[in-house]
């Protein structure tokens, strides 16, 4: 039986680590102590006034009270500092724990799984949505408990002072959530429409900015500006319509807290004058009256603070959805035992038997019942129209796509028998559209063998034709490339990827359309360099330009069954 799906807020709660839980409890404790000291201070103020004005106490007796009050001041400040600092610490620790899980999961998910989930979406989960959790743990959760405990503490004290005044406050309290709920329900549906409008406006702004170069070439700069102005105006009007309602809920809170204070003041005043004989009003003194008055604003203050943090909760719940979606993605990578076989042999034999592969979310197999054998140190060219499943075969060979049926043997063993990292350490891959990692060209070449000597790097860079363009760059191989390979062309990035492959000296080389999208010069370098690898490693290449690979030992044409 399957457990019922956990709600997002419960899930968020379950992500609190034991250390963070302790921190959060301590933080709440700090807030509670500060709140209680606030009550004490109100009592001391009331008592000082009462003692001087009514009893006519001597200044000497008051000195202890002033001393006590002075003592409570730093304690109260410290309590609030503790609350803020510890809760922030807990929140950050939870966030980094989650980040570790998510990155681990992303790596487990593999390129196929992430592509299925959406690479941009995964990026937004790992960054923005994770950051959206901060306020929930750092502010909302501790305040949640405080907003319950502090008003209750105050009401208890108020009951002891004057139960009728306490009742006045108590009646105002539950009315607040009621009214807020009423107003909130109206705001909810408008809010959703507003959210859609914001998304549309955001996507309109982004869409136009993304194509701004084209718009300018078309001479549409001015029109775009007008359209943008119009849509933001439109958005503003819609937003204000929502806010007029949404702010009502906080106005209700403000109104009730102000009215409750006013009511308490007037009730106490009339009671003190003796105009009210109702209930305990006759027993009111300046001390109890003033004390209750000073407590009245503090009943509502924690709630007001909670209301301010309410958007933290909304943001976190939205983010939780995204985080869970990513964590719940089924793995597409072949699971491998940690005590499996060690590194693959140099230039392994590759045998594929009856391979059928399906992509996540797809029904029709990308490859059906495929068999072939590549001898150790030999090479194979996979050809066929796009959609014939060339890439799928390569992904399956690397264990990145779980076969539905059939077996793949690398050097006489199935992929699932190897330990994680073992196949990878002896093989290399080159795709058609490399995006280099942020860092220098050298960092990128060194990726597979970080301990390689400078000479080895220079040698690989020379063979891959990297030096031909790197020499004219300001810092040579140490030039830092910009975001997403900005600053060098696609062909140049591909040559860096080739140098990385050469430096690693792999036994198994898998190439997916390595010459597509290349300029003739880069293509010539790529083909000549790959040919020098023939015989040294087992090589499997997918390409729809078979004429470029005359030197490859055998060819296999994949059927023209185009995938949707």
């Amino acid at each position: 039986m399957q457990a019922p799906p956990q709600s997002d807020s419960r899930w968020l709660f379950s992500r609190i680590t034991p250390t963070s839980r302790r921190l959060l409890l301590l933080a709440t404790g700090g807030g509670l102590v500060a709140g209680w000291l606030g009550i004490l201070q109100a009592g001391l103020i009331a008592w000082l006034v009462y003692a001087t004005l009514v009893i006519g106490a001597e200044p000497a007796t008051l000195a202890t009270v002033f001393g006590l009050w002075l003592l409570s001041i730093p304690l109260r400040s410290a309590g609030l500092s503790l609350r803020d600092q510890l809760a922030l610490k807990a929140s950050l620790s939870i966030r980094e724990h989650l980040r570790r899980d998510l990155i681990h999961d992303t790596l487990e998910l593999g390129p196929v799984g992430v592509a299925h989930f959406g690479s941009a979406r995964a990026g937004s989960v790992l960054l923005d949505q994770l950051d959206a959790l901060e306020g929930y743990f750092a502010r909302f959760l501790p305040q949640c408990l405080l907003a319950l405990l502090l008003p209750l503490s105050i009401i208890v004290v108020a009951f002891w002072l004057d139960w009728l005044a306490a009742l006045l406050l108590l009646f105002a309290l539950p009315l607040i959530p009621l009214f807020m709920a009423l107003v909130g329900m109206g705001a909810e549906s408008i809010n959703q429409r507003q959210f859609q409008a914001l998304e549309r406006l955001g996507s309109f702004f982004l869409d136009r900015l993304q194509g701004l170069e084209t718009l300018r070439q078309l001479g549409r700069g001015g029109e775009t500006r007008e359209a943008m102005r119009e849509s933001t105006d439109n958005y503003r009007q819609r937003t204000m319509a929502v806010l007029r309602v949404a702010f009502l809920s906080s106005a209700v809170l403000e109104f009730f807290s102000a009215v409750a204070i006013a009511m308490v003041a007037i009730y106490v005043g009339l009671g003190l004058l003796g105009y009210l004989t109702l209930g305990p009003a006759g027993d009111l003194t300046l001390f109890s009256g003033l004390f209750v008055l000073l407590l009245a604003p503090d009943v509502f203050a924690p709630l007001r603070e909670l209301a301010q943090h309410y958007h933290d909760r909304a943001a976190a719940l939205g983010a939780a959805r995204g985080l869970r979606d990513l964590l719940d993605q089924p793995a597409t990578v072949v699971a491998r035992p940690s005590k499996g076989l060690g590194a693959i042999r140099q230039a392994p034999e590759v045998r594929v038997n009856g391979l059928t592969v399906t992509y996540p979310g797809g029904d029709a197999p990308a490859i059906r019942d495929l068999s072939f054998r590549v001898g150790a140190g030999s090479s194979l060219l996979l050809t066929g129209p796009s959609g014939a499943g060339k890439t799928s075969v390569l992904l399956a060979l690397l264990g990145l796509l779980q076969p539905r049926e059939g077996t793949i043997l690398l050097g006489a063993h199935r992929i699932a028998e190897y330990a994680p990292g073992s196949i990878e350490s002896g093989s290399a891959w080159l795709g058609q559209n490399p995006r280099l990692l942020p860092g220098s060209l050298r960092d990128n070449i060194l990726l597979g063998r970080p301990d390689a000597s400078t000479d080895a790097v220079t040698d690989a860079a020379a063979r891959a034709g990297v030096l031909r363009f790197a020499d004219s760059l300001p810092d040579g191989l140490d030039t830092v490339i910009g975001e997403r390979s900005a600053g060098i062309s696609g062909g140049e990035a591909q040559r860096v990827a080739l140098a990385r492959l050469l430096l690693k000296q792999p036994g198994l080389v898998i190439l997916d359309e390595p010459t597509a999208r290349l300029d003739p010069e880069s293509r010539a370098i790529m083909l000549a360099t790959l040919e020098t690898l023939a015989g040294q490693c087992t090589m499997i290449v997918a390409s729809h330009n078979p004429e470029q690979f005359a030197w490859i030992d055998q060819r296999l044409a994949l059927g023209g069954e185009p995938a949707a």
């Binding site: 103020i45 006034v49 001087t52 004005l53 009514v54 200044p59 400040s77 500092s81 803020d84 922030l88 980040r99 593999g110 390129p111 995964a122 990026g123 960054l127 982004l206 900015l209 170069e213 084209t214 300018r216 070439q217 001479g219 700069g221 001015g222 775009t224 500006r225 943008m228 102005r229 933001t232 503003r236 937003t239 702010f247 106005a251 109104f255 102000a258 204070i261 007037i266 005043g269 003190l272 300046l286 009256g289 003033l290 000073l294 994680p420 990878e424 093989s427 891959w429 490399p434 942020p438 597979g448 975001e483 997403r484 062309s489 990385r500 690693k504 290349l518 300029d519 003739p520 880069s522």
Partner: protein
């Protein structure tokens, strides 16, 4: 800091809204103080009178006017608070619109290379982050600060009316602590704030690198060094965030202690004044409670000023969008010459001195109506040549003459561009197919649209869609395949009423036969237009009168 002031000045035209919001904010703060202070006065006055009356002294106390005052403050505070929030959000939204238009205006003056970077999303992401940080500059940072200071001054005046010296002490204590806190946060928080923002941006870059390279990393980095690096970076940003939080907490603690001390001080001094007979009991309580409620107004300041380092960083980064605007070419001089040929005369170009030349001594003359093809490997200077022809770049040496009118940018209506460009990357927009096409020619009727769709072999497909030309494309033209999108972009370029057609890898993404067919048709149908097409390969070029080769920045005949 100067960048922050720059964006503040941008707020200037929303001054009436901002002032109205500020006024209401202040009114609501003062109403809150008034409510508690007057209530204190009332309770004490009634308490003392009640005692006297119980002792048989005949006195009268006006309870109606103070009662009405209390109710007025109570309702007034709620109403002004509501109004303040509405007005302030209106102001923020207007500022947001101003900022977005500022971004658009700034970008329209930038060279195409910068605009091309917008497509990758990272620059775009930066811009949205910066804009959303800065649109709250006034509401989150300045307004609470101004209100706090004004409320402090008002409280000072009020207390000074009764007793000047304690007023000076209490207001002085609060004001100096407030300013000290702000100063501390600006002085010591700016750097961690900026570091944090910088760290977050590096984290973003690294993570995107990871997601882009999952296959590569699996094979070349099985030990997950890259992933561990990201986790370290995450831990580092958390440490910086905590450090920033610590500073805020210290400031918060200082301010809270000062506001409690102020109440304590007011009570101590007030009791002395009461003993000396200078103020009476109810006034004493009123003054103490006024100071008591001032604390709440100061509370938001530390968190607001914690943002300062980050805001400065956001402002700098956003401002840098304006960094190197394209050279404004003297187009009037160019159009004055009525020679319709495109002429390049010994043109040299490089982006910066010291860097290798992108183009070396390029001379070329293209007659009106001539079709030429240029072949060259990547990095040979093809795109630089196109940018020069479009007026995005100016030659470092030599003369360039492209007599096809100014390339329109920010100027309102947009003159006919004169040059039609099909960029290497396909860019389509959210909207209908007709919208996308009419960007090139707003007055084009559906007949003209169908005709050009026929030319790029899209008419059949679009005709088969239920809504035809009104079929809706998602952001970036989602909904079409790569090849279809390429052909739609081509159709759009062909609709531009232009004398010069620049085609960059026109057949990119099309299959070989269809690409050739369309390019042949295109060249044959446009004998009156000058066409320059560039491609890696000869067989990806339309049939042309001449083919030139660009290699390492030099132009050669085949």
């Amino acid at each position: 800091m100067s960048d922050l002031f720059y964006f503040l000045r941008l707020h200037g035209k929303r001054l009436p809204w901002l002032m109205a919001g500020l006024g209401l904010m202040l009114a609501s703060a003062l109403a809150g103080i008034g409510l508690l202070a007057l209530s204190g006065w009332f309770v004490t006055a009634t308490g003392l009178s009640g005692l006297l009356m119980a002792a048989g002294v005949a006195i009268t106390l006006d309870i109606y006017r103070p009662g009405a005052g209390i109710r007025a403050f109570a309702v007034g505070r709620a109403v002004t608070r509501y109004g303040e929030r509405l007005i302030n959000h209106e102001a923020v939204l207007r500022t947001l619109a101003d900022l977005r238009l500022w971004v658009l205006d700034s970008l329209l003056l930038q060279p195409s290379t910068k605009l091309a970077m917008l497509r990758d999303g990272e620059l775009l992401n930066r811009i949205t982050t910066d804009v959303s940080a800065l649109d709250q500059l006034f509401l989150r940072l300045l307004a609470p600060t101004l209100v706090a200071i004004l409320a402090l001054l008002a409280a000072f005046a009020f207390i000074a009316f009764w007793t000047p010296l304690p007023a000076l002490l209490v207001a002085g204590l609060l004001l100096s602590t407030t300013l000290l806190c702000i100063l501390l946060l600006v002085r010591y928080g700016a750097l961690p704030g900026r570091n944090l923002a910088h760290g977050q941006s590096r984290l973003r870059q690294q993570l995107i690198g990871l997601l882009d390279n999952l296959t590569e990393l699996r094979l070349f980095d099985p030990a997950h060094r890259q992933a561990n690096q990201i986790l370290d970076l995450g831990a580092e940003t958390a440490r910086r965030r905590l450090q920033l939080g610590q500073q805020t907490t210290i400031a918060d603690c200082l301010l809270l202690t000062a506001s409690q001390l102020a109440v304590w001080l007011m009570m101590l001094l007030g009791l002395g004044l009461y003993g000396a007979g200078i103020i009476n009991g109810p006034v004493l309580v009123m003054l103490v409670l006024a100071v008591f409620s001032l604390g709440e107004i100061l509370r938001p300041l530390p968190v607001a000023w914690q943002q300062i380092g980050r805001l400065i960083w956001n402002a700098q980064r956003l401002r840098s969008l304006q960094a190197d605007p394209i050279p404004q070419l003297d187009t009037t001089a160019a159009t004055a010459q009525c020679d319709a040929a495109v002429k390049l005369d010994g043109v040299w170009f490089r982006h910066r001195t010291g860097q290798p030349w992108c183009l070396q001594d390029v001379s070329l003359r293209i007659e009106p109506g001539e079709h030429i093809g240029i072949m060259g490997p990547s990095g040979s200077g093809k795109s630089t040549l196109f940018q020069l022809l479009q007026g995005d770049l100016a030659p470092c040496r030599g003369r360039l003459h492209a007599p096809f009118g100014p390339r329109s940018g920010t100027t309102g209506r947009g003159d006919p561009p004169g040059i039609a460009v099909l960029g290497q990357r396909t860019v389509l927009f959210q909207g209908s197919i007709a919208d996308n096409l009419q960007l090139a020619a707003p007055e084009a009727d559906s007949e003209a649209l169908w005709q050009v769709l026929e030319e790029v072999e899209l008419a059949g497909l679009i005709d088969s869609m239920p809504r035809g030309l009104d079929s809706y494309l998602g952001p970036g033209g989602r909904g079409l395949s790569g090849g279809q999108a390429r052909r739609l972009a081509m159709a759009r370029t062909l609709l531009v009423p232009a004398g010069l057609l620049l085609l960059d890898e026109p057949a990119e993404g099309l299959d070989r036969q269809q690409g050739m067919r369309i390019l042949e048709r295109l060249a044959a149908n446009r004998r009156e237009q000058t066409i320059i097409a560039i491609a890696h390969d000869r067989d990806r070029l339309p049939p042309t009168d001449r083919i030139l080769v660009l290699r390492d920045g030099s132009l050669m005949d085949t």
